[in-house]
Amino acid sequence: MAKRIEVSGLHAYYGGTHAIEDISMTIEPRSVTAFIGPSGCGKSTFLRTLNRMHEVIPGARVEGKVMLDDEDLYDSSVDPVAVRRVVGMVFQRPNPFPTMSIYDNVAAGLKLNGVRGKRRLDEIVEESLRGANLWNEVKDRLGKPGAGLSGGQQQRLCIARAIAVQPQVLLMDEPCSALDPISTLAIEDLIGKLKSQYTIVIVTHNMQQAARVSDRTAFFNIAGTGKPGKLIEIDDTSKIFTNPEQKGTEDYITGRFG
């Protein structure tokens, strides 16, 4: 189910602004890859090119190749809607559908995929909520609005919504940045559990988090304001945090920055 992502020569633009430059990397299936780097270096931008969400922004475009196993996501015959159904995404701010109940939030993607039948939906909703470690907290109020949950619960609801459609890749953009330490821990545990089934990419500003949850870490940097962001290096997380190849990486993770 999980797939390998191979990016080569990828550039992304916002109108005339060159946001990220010439990125190539391989993201292994059934593993967690963390993206770290200073603010504005293009981590979110790059992440959003992996499920074709970048082009949703007016004027934004992408050049280069993203292979998901043997399919190029940017081939002209590929439908971005179909890409997003196999590459799921969790955003920095929890964004459950405010007018939908907890149940309907989780079922939303299933309905898009044509899953019908109350029994089948019930089953998958429960399975996904259990998968997101949220079932016990919400099982008695599935009909209540998703917006009524706490921030941490909302984020786990969003994760349940994303995994309900069984994507092959799960992208997470700073999923814990709005959460307390306990919810953060719950989500980190969850990531550890999910990686046996999914290819997971997580953007984080928290080095400890990157060290705790990821197998591989990619460090991005930016030469100066107005310059495009670049991939500096990607390697096993233990290597990046103990003995990185690049001086810039070492400076960043040890806090000697700039």
């Binding site: 969400m53 559908f97 007018t99 609005p145």
Partner: protein, 326 residues
């Protein structure tokens, strides 16, 4: 610089601090609160004054009425025994307005969606402008257009609808014409289209980006995204827009008065010449009415006033019921 800092701090510490009790009583706040409370009260007072005026002027005719004011379909207040009732006016007013709403809302929402989510930016601007322009056309112009153009065209359309869709009760009957409830409803629909479309557009533009992206990231097509994120978010806005449109349609006078060939009596066949509304009835008959007639017309105006109030209260209830989910 550094030597100045302690001095600056000391100075700041000496600055007089406002007493806690003063913090709510600033003059500006008080004036503003007074002004807004005052305007609120003025609006209530105006509403009450209108109601009192209408009731006051309506009482004489109501006392003279020899028919049942609520159920009679006759309108003859200046007759020897004065006989008049509003049943037909209620029917005609609601029928034209509701039909207008049924036609206008889907089109207006479609236009708003097209402008906000489908059209290329430049075309969107032009379209939005044109729709707003429709709102600036005076209703007498709609009336003239309705009477001189639409009525002639609608004669044929009515005949067509009657022969092919006559099995639908509203389109049935043996006579068809151009100066019908349907024609009036179409004119009204065009008149209320801009306001409904402008308000829904405003609401659609405000849909938070996060909700739009949540749907797209799940693999929703644009239309699925609209159904998952945009329409639920815009629901209460659409209801308010529709109600504003309905309010305008209920009270529209001159265009309807010109288009309808007013006849007495309730007739469900909307393809037949005839029908009448509160506002059209007042406009058409006020000038030639005697004292009782005028008083009777004012009584009918009072009923229209109550209907519009009820429509608005209903709209609020609909909006409030969705609160839990937004």
């Amino acid at each position: 610089m550094t030597s100045e800092t302690p001095a600056a701090l000391a100075k700041a510490a000496e600055r007089p601090r406002p007493a806690l009790s003063m913090s709510t009583g600033r003059a500006g706040d008080r004036i503003f609160a007074g002004l807004s409370r005052g305007s609120g009260l003025v609006i209530l007072a105006i509403m009450a004054a209108i109601a009192v005026f209408l009731v006051w002027k309506a009482i004489p005719a109501l006392q003279d009425d020899k028919a049942n004011f609520l159920t009679s379909q006759e309108w003859n207040p200046d007759g020897a025994p004065a006989k008049f009732g509003i049943a037909q006016l209620v029917f005609g007013t609601l029928m034209t307005s509701v039909l207008a709403l049924v036609m206008a809302v889907p089109v207006a929402v479609g236009i708003a969606l097209f402008i906000t989510y489908y059209a290329p930016r430049r075309l969107a601007g032009v379209m939005a402008y044109l729709v707003d322009l429709l709102a600036a056309v005076p209703s007498i112009v709609y009336g003239l257009w309705g009477l001189n153009f639409l009525v002639t065209k609608m004669t044929g359309v009515s005949g067509f609808l009657n022969s092919y869709f006559g099995w639908i009760p509203l389109f049935g009957g043996s006579e068809t014409g151009g100066r019908t409830i349907l024609t009036a409803a179409i004119v009204l629909a065009i008149m209320i289209l801009p306001i409904i479309s402008a308000i829904t557009r405003e609401v659609f533009v405000q849909v938070p980006h996060a909700h739009v992206e949540a749907a797209l990231a799940l693999g929703a097509t644009r239309w699925e995204m609209i159904r998952m994120s945009v329409l639920p978010f815009g629901r209460s806005g659409m209801v308010s827009a529709a109600m504003l449109g309905l309010g305008r349609a209920l009270g529209e006078t001159i265009a309807v008065a010109m288009v309808l060939s007013t006849t007495a009596g309730i007739d469900w066949h909307i393809l037949k010449d005839g029908g009448n509304t509160f506002a059209a009835n007042i406009a058409n008959t006020f000038a030639m009415s005697g004292p009782t007639g005028r008083s009777a017309l004012i009584a009918s105006g009072l009923v229209l006033f109550v209907i519009t109030l009820l429509v608005n209260v209903g709209a609020r209830a609909v909006v409030a019921r969705r609160k839990e989910f937004s």
